[in-house]
Assembly symmetry: C2
Homo-oligomer: 180 residues x 2
Amino acid sequence: MSAEERRESVVRAAMIEFARNGYRGTSTESIARRVGVSQPYLFRLFPGKQAIFTAAAERCIEETWRVFDEASAGLTGEEAAAKMSEAYMGLVEDGEQLMMQMQLYVSVFASRMAGEDEIGEMARRLWGELFERVRERVGGDVQGTTEFFAYGMLINTLVALGFPREHRIWDGFGEREEAG
Amino acid sequence: MSAEERRESVVRAAMIEFARNGYRGTSTESIARRVGVSQPYLFRLFPGKQAIFTAAAERCIEETWRVFDEASAGLTGEEAAAKMSEAYMGLVEDGEQLMMQMQLYVSVFASRMAGEDEIGEMARRLWGELFERVRERVGGDVQGTTEFFAYGMLINTLVALGFPREHRIWDGFGEREEAG
DNA sequence: AGAGATAGTGATTGGTCACTAACTTAGAAC
DNA sequence: GTTCTAAGTTAGTGACCAATCACTATCTCT
């Protein structure tokens, strides 16, 4: 297998491991085991653990747009928003993508506190792009897009906390599921 | 100093350390150093590291209500919501409280994946209570309360990512800052 | 004075982890 | 068939860390 292909499978494995266990909680050993290579070989493919995390985080946001794009292809306005909401629920439901996203937020902040903001710059760039793309897709309304993302972030929280879908806390989504 | 007072200062120190470095990234040594006691003594005050984290997380949510309550005392409806939003921005601005909150979400999910949901039960209980209290304060509107929390969670994300307040991504809050 | 309880410490231990160095194997080029 | 290169391994290191154990110091009550 070529190094490039290996890197790809490392990123995929890393997304799972980092999502489940966080940055510090994930050992390079566990990623290597999932990929099926020896642990030291990861350091041939990436300069270090941080670089693997960054690659996984980058992929995570990109994947979000891919899902939005596929779900709403050819649509605009409320229709597009509704399809994207639905798709987002599906994406986030199993928790893997959601937790990678949360781990990214947490890591960006920690990095900024530690004086380096490389991963933060990347995250803001990709997040900004995602926002703009969604805005274009739903028709250029900034406030509507903001609302869309706001409900998305609330979904993130409720799913992370493990509120079952029948819980009353989800009731407020009844009439506006199209916005989340 | 009494054990109870020590426990209190441990919780406060733990909130800072866990917020900045996460659960795995925080050593009991660093908490002890911040408190000003020896590391082994923490294990006299708490059964283990996890218990310290749980106590800090609990305190974190409780503090949120305390801030909401103080900010909106004697008010109802939109007025109460506006005051609480304003107060929330202040609470979250410096990042410490925000990051402890995020670390909690991440840890709840991880614990659930690991088969135990003790911390999750605590978090859902306190979060549910917070939601109900806010709902009562703003006047019983479930959808409005949901919107309030949705914008709050978006604020969390944007602050965590480090978007400066002047960034266009904040523009959608212009007319509805009262909802965040 | 002395006994009991409470607050607190130093030393240690078994284990984990990111990362390095040095070596091996397999295919392609000539 | 040898040489070159890229993919991959085994063995190891220094640092860190949660938790335990055995101990000391300081009150308080009689």
